[in-house]
């Protein structure tokens, strides 16, 4: 009996590894059979937002639901953009600097925020997000304010495919680091703290410290995503980083499934690519987006990432139903 169970698990693991390998091969060879630069552009944006969404999830599993994540992206983006445009520094320097700047701000604001419980953290993060943009506007001689920042030096001028491979690598690396972080000792402690802060503090764990750490790491990658975006899109404006953008990032995570590491990846991909496919519908596109959201929350409690497991349980129920009718 135990052996049968083991081989099922082993089979599942094999399936999962195969899926990943196939996926990686497809992604690596993508530019060979997708020639349209516009579609490559969409894929690049998806990769950037995958980094942002995954980093948001890390913060969320530490018990802090951030409604201002896009604003953290903006810190990284504008830092890199301004340094690149005004001082002419190369993106290879401005991007890490952007990420570090974002992390620094996160630590500064994270310290007082770490003591806040769930909904209050979310509200403060919401206001913080709006506040960041207001400050951005106040310094419009540097940031361009509502008009936006234009003329950021590019990473790889002219070649969408070069950018694609760069971001494929960057996203892969970021996901790897985030994954290791989540499943190492520190990561599991962070998740445990989120589950029950009473138990955690009784064991002598410094909850606030772990929360700030999660926020710092998450915001580092948010800043990295933002900085990458700056040097790819070459144009920054408030509309990319406003409250609605933060909410959308959260939606990508929730629809993908907050319980699973792959959740944000799947959620982002589905919610960016599918509306793009329906672009021809113009002003009706938001209906498609809303439709996906509704389907997911009513039918898939685990999000899209939980779909395979859910299908399996439906099949099992169906089989059980058949067995019952057969037996009677």
């Amino acid at each position: 009996m135990a052996e049968r169970q083991f081989s099922i698990r082993g089979r599942r693991k094999l399936t999962r590894i195969t899926v990943y390998v196939v996926l990686i091969v497809i992604l690596l060879l993508l530019p060979l059979f997708i020639k349209s630069p516009y579609l490559i552009h969409i894929f690049i944006l998806t990769l950037i937002y995958i980094i942002a969404a995954s980093s948001l999830r890390l913060i969320a599993v530490s018990g802090q639901l951030s409604l201002g994540h896009a604003a953290f992206m903006s810190i990284g983006a504008y830092t890199a953009g301004i340094l690149g445009k005004l001082l002419g520094w190369t993106p290879w320097v401005t991007m890490p600097l952007g990420a570090l700047a974002t992390m620094a701000v996160a630590v500064l604001i994270g310290y007082p925020m770490a003591r806040l419980r769930a909904i209050y953290f979310s509200m403060v993060s919401l206001f913080f997000g709006i506040g960041v943009l207001a400050i951005n506007q106040a310094f419009e001689s540097f940031t361009g304010g509502y008009a936006g920042l234009i003329g950021i030096p590019p990473l790889f001028a002219g070649s969408k495919v070069a950018n694609y491979y760069f971001f494929l690598g960057l996203t892969g690396l970021s996901l790897l680091i985030l994954h290791r972080f989540e499943f190492c000792r520190i990561g599991t402690t962070i998740k445990a703290v989120a589950q029950s802060h009473v138990v955690a503090s009784s064991v002598g764990i410094n909850e606030s410290g772990y929360r700030i750490l999660a926020l710092a790491v998450g915001c580092f990658f948010a800043g990295l995503a933002g900085a990458g975006y700056a040097h790819y899109n070459l144009v920054l404006s408030h509309s990319t980083f406003n409250f609605l953008a933060s909410v959308y990032l959260l939606i990508y995570v929730l629809v993908g499934g907050i319980g699973s590491f792959a959740g944000p990846v799947i959620g982002t991909a589905v919610l960016i690519i599918i509306p793009e496919l329906f672009r021809v519908l113009k002003e009706f596109v938001p209906y498609i987006f809303a439709g996906i959201l509704l389907i997911v929350i009513f039918v898939m409690p685990q999000g899209l990432a939980g779909l395979p497991e859910q299908i399996r349980s439906w099949v099992r129920e169906w089989r059980k139903g058949k067995a019952v009718t057969h037996a009677s």
């Binding site: 925020m113 806040l116 909904i119 509200m123 403060v124 206001f127 409250f243 929730l254 809303a290 009513f298």
Partner: protein, 286 residues
Amino acid sequence: METAVNATISALVLSSMYIVVALGFALLLSIMGVLNFAHGAIYMVGGYICYQFAVESGLNQWLSLLLSVIIVGSFGLFLEKFCFRPFLGDMYRTIVMAIAIILILETTVNVLVGVHIRSLPAFVPGILRAGAISLSAERLVTFAIGGVLLLALTWFIRKAKAGQQMLAVAQDVEGAALQGIDIHRISALACVMGCGLAAVAGSLMGAVFELSPFMGNYMLVKAIQLVILSGIGSIGGILVAGLIIGSIDATLPLFTSGAVTQAIGLGIIIVLLLFRPQGLFGREVA
């Protein structure tokens, strides 16, 4: 001097407008524990329905307001039963649901009515002048209505049986259920009232300002600011919070730019929340 008086008046009026918008949101958050991000969109729809009756169909504007309240309030019933009740307690899915509602409402209005800016005619036309001070009649009326609604709501919660039940649910859901209070009925009532209030706000603002399919987003953030500042669980505190934020928004732009005003306003709220997360009057949450 007259600038100061005018600024005070405009602070009071702006506060009352924010309060009217925030009341509905506060009801839902305090009583159902639901962060109804769609409140802004519902507020917008309320304004457009009033416009439809008042301008397109030519009915009396106050009657149109009433009709809008009834229609949007009924929509609140639908919302509570099918959109919020399945996900009570699940903040994540409530947020996703709210975004879906916003998208559907905004897109529908955008498609049906078009993006052409419309404005409701003033509910009470005319400008009142007293010396160097001048105030439009409709703003005064909005101020009055806001005050009346706030008083009515406070009375309802303190004196009416259903209101007391709402208070009980807001304080402790399980305890209230143990007392025999029908949670679903109370939540439905709260939702209907919340949506009705949003409709009033949308119609009034649609006349004082103007209507656009995306007008809800700004007001949503203001409503959240008011409610969080006042604290979850407190309805009367909305008055104080409204006065604070309204005053900031009405007076600071006189001295500095709009962006700095916003930054300062938010900064104050953030600092307050960091030290007192339950807001000014909210209940302590474990």
